[in-house]
Subunit: 260 residues, 2 copies
Amino acid sequence: MNFDFDRETEVVREDAGRFSVEVSDRWNIFTVPNGGYLISIALDAVGRMVPHPDPIAVSTHFMTRVEPGPAAIVVDVVRTGRAQTTATALFLQQGEPHFHTTATYGDLSVAGGPSRILGERPVIAGPDECVRGEGGMASEFLKHFDVRLTPESAAWATSRPTGTAMMEGWIRFVDGRPNDTRSLAVITDAFPPAVFNLMETGWVPTLELTSHVRARPVEGWLQCRFRTRFLMNRYLEEDGEVWDEAGSLVAQSRQLARVV
Amino acid sequence: MNFDFDRETEVVREDAGRFSVEVSDRWNIFTVPNGGYLISIALDAVGRMVPHPDPIAVSTHFMTRVEPGPAAIVVDVVRTGRAQTTATALFLQQGEPHFHTTATYGDLSVAGGPSRILGERPVIAGPDECVRGEGGMASEFLKHFDVRLTPESAAWATSRPTGTAMMEGWIRFVDGRPNDTRSLAVITDAFPPAVFNLMETGWVPTLELTSHVRARPVEGWLQCRFRTRFLMNRYLEEDGEVWDEAGSLVAQSRQLARVV
């Protein structure tokens, strides 16, 4: 394991379907482990149990905060078919459920059939024209990434919110780990909440996050856009799109979160 | 039970957490029960096990086709908190898993806090200027609904696909059943696939569907918009927005599906 991400999301098999892990405090945002980091741990466990290589649809419901420290993951392979396998992972600390992930795996290397691209990859400032995210108090998590926000998206941090709930920019691991279909789980939850460009708010905990992986990413930067359109009675959606340097959409995500 | 939807999604409790149901063939599209109808059955079971009234985030992974006839639903209440409860439902026929739903319930009647609406309800032709969907071969399912497609959205059926993968229009139950936060599960899967306006295709089975319920709908028509932007190697996303007559966004949905 040459890369932080792999080392710190690695689970240990205890017995059939049961895994243990030490949740690192090095992926914290403030004092809480990042949600995408936690999903990546769950997928490390699920990936060991299923015959297909790529998590193509991953839905996670977060119930209560995870703390750094020991945890267990219980994986149930619900059904294996020729093209897909669906499995669940329940993440426990001190015997109590903290989040639940359902993942459908397939093999994107053999995907074929009609393609019609109606959406466009946004044209944004290149990484060198963007603002590097340093993270400040949230820095433990961000130390693993080179995150560059467009000047507009960085407005919340450098001047004041733009009024448009959008975060756009670029991301890659600082230690050179190439992205794959599992690490996209942390990418879709790695940018500051888009709502930071709409209003001052504190914590924005995720209730539910689903990612669809559409292609295996090539090496290099990932271009991301996260947007919120409806903040209603404290609840908001955040929609994400992730593109690789080859110009392919590699993931779409949506989360339901709450400003507190 | 005065309404078809309630009567035909009603489960019977067998013992703690285990329910039975007779899947009707009256919600078929061609020969297969509609996915939103099936999720509604799962939610009838889950709703009996949880203390909160509204399914606010519902994620379903479909593994294999369900047939009309007897089925079992096994519900597991994963965690109950003050504000939310998360539960899973596994749907079985002849002992085999067919789909898996994870639902987080809350109480939208007590939701409060900041609201900022950045998206707009689309301005479309009213129900009387729209084209009523008759369903043709898919008619069993559509007999339960008054579905009106905008003339543009109906192009695939009446003339030829527009080239824009969008379906917009209106929907309500024909028997006058008012919508609630459970029935929105079927609404988000009730329109013809948006991809029908992009290309001729056959079946578009859903792999994963997540709905976020944002508000309780008032009585009357629901205005819907479903869109696909990325068809890649046979896989596509379909994003849905559902608005009520009071002008509120009541649900957002996204599914990952495959054209076959």
